[in-house]
């Protein structure tokens, strides 16, 4: 499984990271180097092994179904690069 520049463009777009066209071949080569390193995993016999999801089996914690926090609009917006009228502001999304 090798990544070519057009596959690299697809990955960059999925990751929402702008990559200039002329940087795609180098990016593809780098990603291939790392993927090649990972190919070693194919040597391992993993038949019948369950994928590990956590280091210790524990029951997900439960708590009372009550409101514990809220009314923090100012704090939530305090670090926004652009906040207006109590909302996060972004470029127009709907035409």
């Amino acid at each position: 499984m090798a990544i070519d520049p057009s596959e690299a463009r697809k990955v960059a777009h999925l990751a929402r990271i702008a990559v200039a066209d002329d940087a795609l071949p180098a990016l593809a080569a780098e990603l291939n180097g790392i993927l090649h390193f990972m190919e070693q995993l194919n040597e391992v016999d993993v038949d019948g092994v369950e994928p590990m999801t956590g280091v210790e089996k524990m029951r997900l914690k439960r708590r009372e179904d009550v409101v514990t926090d809220g009314h923090q609009q100012a704090a939530v917006l305090a670090n926004a690069p652009d906040a207006r009228e109590g909302f996060f502001a972004v470029p127009k999304v709907v035409e």
Partner: protein
Amino acid sequence: MTLNTLAIAEARDRLRGREISAAELTEACLTAIEGAGALNAFVHHTPDIARAQAAAADARIAQGDAPAMCGIPVGIKDLFCTKGVPSQAASRILEGFRPEYESTVTQNLFDAGAVMLGKLNMDEFAMGSSNETSVYGNAVNPWKLDQPLTPGGSSGGSAAAVAADLCLAATGTDTGGSIRQPAAFTGTVGLKPTYGRVSRWGTIAFASSLDQAGPMTRSVRDAAIMLGAMASVDPKDSTSADRPVPDYEAALTGDIRGQKIGIPREYRMDGMPAEIAALWDRGAEMLRDAGAEIVDISLPHTKYALPAYYVIAPAEASSNLARYDGVRYGRRAKLSAGDGITELYEKTRAEGFGPEVQRRVMIGTYVLSAGFYDAYYNRARKVRALIKRDFDEAFAQGIDTILTPATPSAAFPLGSMQDADPVEMYLNDVFTVTVNLAGLPGLAIPVGLDSAGLPLGLQLIGRPWDEGNLLNHGAVLEKAAGFVAKPDRWW
């Protein structure tokens, strides 16, 4: 002797005995920090907070009910959210971010009376082994040859600050070796606790199933004291374990007679430097002389830990770092006329993330994408299960701790890996990454100097939740090694 060079344990006793004040101790550290700009360890300074906390600590000590960390000045890795204080994970994308809340770890330390001196340098989002991916520029190792050396990474600022006596201790985080490798590179002690021992709430996430915060100190006893203050049962972290926090310092009995210490043969890698192999043998002898039984063990899947890690950690990172979108916090790229929401995301993330972070986010995106999920991600998680099983079987045989080298080399020169393949840098984690994959506690201890005069460390790996016994073994090794060397001051 200046106060900033004290160990936590000594400082605590002298504070309680009213021989020194937290205010004096804090001033000594602030002065040391001011004179250490060349190390680039502290990247955000909080002297006002430190002085106010020191005054409060002195008042508390005067009342006679001060916990062990009360009045102890510490540095905080930039990965921890600290209320009102810049917390940007050494990334450009979090420029200007001042959290509106406090991480559980820093809150626990403050509740115990600790004093925050400032925020410490690190690799961007904790991705790196040399501190060179930091937006602040790299921290520098106080240990020096004719050229400046890396303090290691990602907790390189923490390690440099502790080694240079800028603070009594520091917080670190460890996803693949980020506490233990810098500790080994700087002649300090670093502990990665069992996964779930220390709350991750408010610690900026890299790989959530691997990340764990821990203490970086100048002695094993100090690591025991500080872990006791950092650890807690936290309802805000669903992976925080429901286990009471024991008195780790009380576990330091100095008696390891009859304990079984495993030496895993797979860690004797091809091309291991002779000095590292000799140090490892010497460490085993020291523990044997102290009455422990040294047992050869096998951890057969060791070789596959690094490739499994470099699938799992980037996969989790790509998901965790999706939140940096230039909308809710941090830095937004300048947009051109007509740019829409996609350009906002893509430009913000291209400008905000450095090359290593971009690389890992994209690798993670790839291994999680349709068609490759089973081939890479699921396979890596199966290999992870086998790596954990190796350790489970060793412990089931009665092994109490496992002794390995901490790093494959001593600290290397800054810039020396610039043209290297990214995979070469990843090899730094070869002895530490298995411990994160298995969720175990791991402790790096300085044991000797190499022929060039640089510190070398060994790692002890413990059973899950057995930090007390692990620290006890570490204290015995520390005492036998008698490592007292300090870097000559050049900064």
